[in-house]
């Protein structure tokens, strides 16, 4: 794992503490710095203040629901360029299409594979090194 990855920051916007903790553990194990916001309003503020490298946004959040949170993040000059990865228990076509239309770079359903998919997404976003790079480093 290169030193660069230690500096990469992920903001998790997730109201469910258990799910947030699970995500946090997964990402910390990969050498990422993790921030957590329990609702959309706090998430937008933290994103503006700390400008993370990527935002993992659960759609089902209180205060401001996930779609509105995404819209606000994308409209803001400081946060508009940060990739937003949406997570949701809802995986119907309407929800997915709406999320992507709002500017989410990826939409990950909360299922048995969500952790695996998120890590692969972070690799493709170059937040994490690719598997090939890790092998090379070894």
């Amino acid at each position: 794992m290169s030193m660069d990855n230690i500096l990469k920051t992920v903001l998790i916007i997730e109201d469910n503490p258990a799910q947030a903790l699970a995500l946090e553990s997964l990402l910390i194990a990969e050498g990422l710095q993790v921030l957590w916001a329990p609702d959309g309003k706090t998430g937008v503020l933290k994103a503006q203040q700390l400008v993370p490298d990527v935002i993992v946004l659960s759609i089902e959040t209180p205060e401001i629901e996930g779609f509105e949170t995404c819209r606000r993040l994308k409209e803001n000059v400081r946060t508009g360029g940060i990739p937003v990865v949406m997570l949701s228990v809802h995986d119907d076509a309407v929800t997915v299409a709406y999320g992507i239309d709002l500017g989410a770079v990826d939409f990950i359903p909360k299922d048995a594979f969500s952790g695996t998919v998120l890590l692969e997404t972070l690799r493709q976003l170059q937040i994490l090194p690719s598997t090939a790079c890790v092998i090379e480093a070894l």
């Binding site: 995986d91 119907d92 076509a93 309407v94 997915v96 299409a97 992507i100 989410a104 770079v105 990826d106 939409f107 990950i108 359903p109 299922d111 048995a112 594979f113 695996t116 998919v117 692969e120 997404t121 493709q124 976003l125």
Partner: protein, 167 residues
């Protein structure tokens, strides 16, 4: 064509891009496995993250519209398409003897938003087959609206794009 039992097959796998993967769907969990395989193949085919998400989630949307793993058993077949200057993923969801599947279901037309091509047909053996294609580079034109079809000939008319879709 290689057949795999979804829930029994263990960890996700990726096979060479010219192989067709077929996942048998018996339970809802098999749909999740199929969706994961679609995502992995889409990545291998060079689709970007958003397109990977679209075709993967279109798969589960189609499976749900066909009530796979819930009412009907069936299968999801995935293969990579190669054309001049483009690559894509084709997913075929089949509900075996899906007599009560409504081809005009709104779920099918909603799924159309996620993919570049979509067709639904009822085969002579009463199976219902939904075929979705997502390209790495979105193709020109494709202005026709999604319409459910009841026969293979109608399906061919709908799919008569550039004639590059290998069967």
């Amino acid at each position: 064509m290689q057949r795999r039992r979804g829930a029994d097959s263990g960890a996700p796998f990726v096979e060479p891009m010219n192989a067709t993967q077929t996942i048998v769907i018996r339970t809802e969990f098999d749909v999740f496995i199929a969706r994961q395989h679609v995502r992995e193949l889409a990545r291998a085919a060079g689709l970007d993250l958003t397109n990977q998400a679209c075709i993967a989630l279109a798969t589960s949307s189609l499976a749900r519209a066909l009530r796979l793993g819930e009412v009907y058993q069936g299968q999801v077949s995935i293969d990579c398409l190669h054309t001049r200057g483009n690559r894509g993923i084709r997913v075929i969801c089949t509900a075996l003897e899906g007599a009560k599947v409504h081809l005009s279901s709104r779920a099918f037309s909603h799924t159309r938003w996620l993919v570049d091509e979509l067709s639904v047909e009822r085969t002579p053996s009463s199976d219902v087959q939904a075929t979705a294609v997502k390209w790495a580079v979105q193709r020109h034109v494709q202005t026709r609206e999604f319409k459910p079809v009841e026969s293979a000939s109608q399906l061919e008319m709908q799919n008569d794009t550039n004639g590059h879709m290998p069967r």
